[in-house]
Symmetry: none
Subunit: 399 residues, 2 copies
Amino acid sequence: MFDLMRELAIESRSKIVLLVADGLGGLPREPGGPTELEAAVTPHLDGLVARNVCGLSLPVAPGITPGSGPGHLGLFGYDPLAFTIGRGVLEALGIDFDLGPDDVAARGNFCTVDADGRITDRRAGRIDSEVGRALVEKLRGVRIEGAEIFVEPVKDYRFVLVIRAPGLGDDIADTDPGMTDVPPRKPEAHDPASKRTAAILESFIGQAADILRDDHPANMITLRGIAKRPPIPQFEEVYRLRAGAIAVYPMYRGLARLVGMTILQPGTSLADQLEALRRHWDDADFFFMHYKYTDAAGEDGDFERKVACIEELDAAIPAIVDLGPDVLMVTGDHSTPAALRSHSWHPVPVLLAASTCRPDAATSFGERSCLQGGLGQVEAKYLLPLALAHAGRLAKFGA
Amino acid sequence: MFDLMRELAIESRSKIVLLVADGLGGLPREPGGPTELEAAVTPHLDGLVARNVCGLSLPVAPGITPGSGPGHLGLFGYDPLAFTIGRGVLEALGIDFDLGPDDVAARGNFCTVDADGRITDRRAGRIDSEVGRALVEKLRGVRIEGAEIFVEPVKDYRFVLVIRAPGLGDDIADTDPGMTDVPPRKPEAHDPASKRTAAILESFIGQAADILRDDHPANMITLRGIAKRPPIPQFEEVYRLRAGAIAVYPMYRGLARLVGMTILQPGTSLADQLEALRRHWDDADFFFMHYKYTDAAGEDGDFERKVACIEELDAAIPAIVDLGPDVLMVTGDHSTPAALRSHSWHPVPVLLAASTCRPDAATSFGERSCLQGGLGQVEAKYLLPLALAHAGRLAKFGA
């Protein structure tokens, strides 16, 4: 599909807005009742559905519940099964760390070991963030010849380790054994290119153990998800789109950065995001706008709050429409039903508004209504090609 | 899928008719209005939909607008992304040139060059077809040792060049630089197998330049889309179908010939095509009938004429049904909405009539109605397997 996009993508002055309501899809609170999206009063989204086209997006494949990484890669047009993002990388993106192509990132945990070096608590008694930050500060004293080392706090007992040196491999097993009563594993390289990485990590771990010796319960560390940025074709090269991301949360800015989008800093509210969209309207062809709170409410199991978040988002629609995008697509990266308090595999409602939409029978933005939509049930990775087509940005394939 | 078809296809006396209305799918003329197909009065097609099954065909992939080549390959059961047809080949098919497996075809343009050999007009002032034909006649004087040369007029400043010699490669860049003020490029081989082809083309171009020296504005040529027939598995071998094509336009006869169909000459009208179908009913198992005028009306932006063409086609349905095909499938190779005056990416309505259809909620042949159809939205390449199944021509897979 990438080769096809590279072949067919053409320059244009058209504008595309992709509005992602994280975890948009839901489930009824009681049997037969409405989902969060169906319960929400959304006159602006409903109006767009009635005049345009809608459907349901399958983030990865039927039955597969995606994390934020694969959920967004799909929406960006990448096959989430072909491009995987290591946990260390996601963790680094989540704290806005600007990973370079030579960086190896790992998710770190402080843990507790006994006098024999065996793990007694994999999370170091869940020390709080302030303690974690102070220990991270100490770990920054580690020095390794020929490599730059970054240690950044995340939350509680979690931190990110980044090693920067040219030519490092990243095929290395976790040092976290996933159980107690055994010592942390040594970093083991699974290919020749990763041997130097393993040696650097071993040195880091050794120095860390010395530094933390007296910091019980956080007297040791483990590393997981050791990974480099995947080599992902960049948005501009594949789609000929100058793309800008307007996201409040760092993880989503990071995912956008991975595919080559420019980060447009929005402040912290939806109003700030709209203001950023307006301010940068001439600076990009494609805008990825990420709204987090639908997912957060779903994760909290708070049906009413998720409904309120959707209504807040609906109220923002006229401000986007007023800018006159050629294509406005509204969807989610996955479902997060309040009833499940977690991401789920259920297809996600999607609406596409453009002057070239064929009418369908759907008249409101909701899971049941979208089943009547002209987009049918479509793999998320095809949504961007569809948006490009409706924006007049894809040439004919073959003669 | 081919291996599966080869394994499962069985002999039968059943008959399949595939009626392709070129560019069938459309868009409303005004927001919320009917599409061309929805506006047309089509009692016979509607009757078939009501008693059988329908859906929407995706010619290539969501968002991808196909040319006639990929559009038809999909309907013939071939993955249009796996089998691509070069422009030179299509151009040769379009003038009914019977390309052999050893032939390299190119699309030729007459162009104008100045005294320094730099192109000043890539289309030689758009000389008319009569002048073009006379110049083609002169180019037939070119002789090259060890190769047969065919030069055929197409239209205006366009011609087809075919080189016939065993073992020629076809990985050669266009000689048309795509701009003026530079000379035509030399034919450059991209692989060893194409070196001899490049040498032959260079000799042809050199002789052509001498021959055309005094024919300003058409005093030089460029070549594009240099290609051989792709190695396409043949219909009879894969599907065990004796297939016949009834198409008024040469391009579609050529596409049918590429996959091994027999060309049944129909004259020039739809009535002629029906007559050919009747006359040859016992000569084939599968009939590909191509109706061009829906696409032509769409390309002209003529909504009313496209509606009238669809109604003409509808009037032909009883004559086909009267022959008693076991399966009648009616669809298009792509959409050509009059509103866009061009091919488009929108899914194409498809109806399948057979005694083994499961009922669905659709009652008329139109884009919105087909969204209710039992076939759902299906990639075009799966339509032929579906037709084979309904014709009792596919055995069970596995025990």
